[in-house]
Symmetry: C2
Subunit: 248 residues, 2 copies
DNA sequence: CGCCGTTTTGACACTTCTCAACTTACGTGG
DNA sequence: CCACGTAAGTTGAGAAGTGTCAAAACGGCG
């Protein structure tokens, strides 16, 4: 399986830029070049590496490829005409994105980290059974994640949103692991490395950058977390944070 | 194909009740009784009718059936432990629901109207290819709808949310039909019959019942809409309302 | 006709946003 | 290696939007 390095990655529509510029459908060039290679079962599949902050596709682009994240994270977001942005999903390893209802993508896709993707021809996803089953499971998981996120956006306070977000970032640890008893089952290092900027977090949580910053500072003052660096957060009280998510 | 009338439908967890009572996983009884009938291709399928405000399933219930709406509307919602509710989706005709990532349902399902459902055995949806393709398309559409709803919940004002909601309720009319020119392509009657109570609308839009009421009153004062009855709304200015959705 | 649940309206409180200034972190070039 | 410039993040004060609580109005149904 050939890895295709390409040095074309330009810095895509960044957070700050996205706030002010409204991106219109035409005249865009995503950071993915189409160099297809034959694959097993006569399907066209390839693996692709992208730098951080690369654009995979724009809203409105014709959707003829489907992507699976092998490694790294991809952010999906939508823009309102006046520049307001909402990050609608963050796609991690083993998850799929770029599946449209119609002919075009409904949102923009941008890498949050260095990313390795598996790229499928869209037609194959519609004809090959084993791929369909996989996509099906990914879509169901995505729907559930979006349901949870709707609860977060519609009903949770800023504190609860940030706490939920930080929790989500702890590797191998879910809110379900906490039963409110004060003892956590997960034994991770409780060390988070954020791949998103404050602006991206804010746009994901439906808040402003200032509110996110204030809440994180407040958590720090309360001793729940410590900031080793701006994007390196240590969770001091897993249960203390968990109690603030609103899920218990 | 046999329609099975059943008179067992009790009034499920209603909006007001759901606000105060937290629903725990055990001891529930949904309004659907399992009477399976043999169907073509050796799959177990049946058609079922339910009254308004019937419970299809609860969050945490074992998910061994998948549902397709033939006629009517079903509401999916989640509850936080303190009673806050978020309606995560409203499922209309030809759409599918009850597809879980794991073994149990991630949300509650309740009918908004009299509903006719087609009920599948879950195993069939995993093995039969023609069903998978259909489910796949439904899931993709659902993901896009949830993306849109995330934008609404995360980035739109109360006015924009209610305007977007009313627009969504106009049959055969989408926000895309409006280009801001003042002329609307869709030629519907501009008459809406709401199937949701104010509480349900509020829980769908991430607002309070009072805010929803106030916004509707304000739209009425501005002449954008008229209320023939509380749940019968006439849209006087389609474009005026459209301009308030934030989508243009 | 009167009751009860839903909706509307009002006054006020509180959360979050906005705007502005300041601080910190990071990369470049001297 | 340090100084500088720029971008990112933090903090503060005030404004705006939405929530909360309470009361009144409305609508459906016995």
């Amino acid at each position: 399986m050939a890895y295709i390095e390409h040095g074309l990655a330009m810095t895509g529509a960044r957070a700050s830029a996205a706030r002010t510029e409204s991106l219109v459908a035409d005249g865009h060039k995503s950071d993915i070049e189409s160099t297809w290679h034959a694959f097993s079962h006569s399907a066209r599949v390839r693996t692709q590496r992208l730098d951080q902050h690369s654009v995979v596709f724009y809203e409105g682009d014709t959707a003829n490829r489907v992507f699976e994240v092998i490694d790294g994270a991809v952010m999906l977001y939508k823009l309102l005409p006046d520049g307001r942005r909402q990050v609608v999903d963050v796609i991690g390893a083993n998850d799929v994105f770029g599946l449209p209802r119609g002919l075009t993508h409904d949102c923009n896709a941008e890498t949050l980290t260095k990313v390795t993707l598996r790229v499928f021809d869209r037609k194959d996803t519609e004809t090959r059974v084993e791929v369909q089953g996989h996509i099906n499971r990914c879509l169901m998981a995505q729907v559930e994640k979006l349901h949870d996120h709707a609860v977060l956006l519609g009903r949770k306070s800023a504190f609860e949103r940030v706490a939920s977000f930080l929790f989500r970032c702890i590797p191998d640890c879910k809110t379900d692991d906490c039963d409110g008893s004060g003892v956590h089952k997960c034994s991770s290092s409780n060390m988070i490395t954020l791949t998103m900027t404050r602006q991206e977090i804010a746009d994901y949580l439906g808040l402003t950058i200032e509110t996110v910053s204030r809440v994180i500072s407040e958590f720090r003052r309360k001793g729940l977390i410590s900031l080793e660096k701006q994007d390196h957060i240590r969770i001091n009280s897993l249960c203390g944070l968990c109690r603030m998510t609103g899920a218990h």
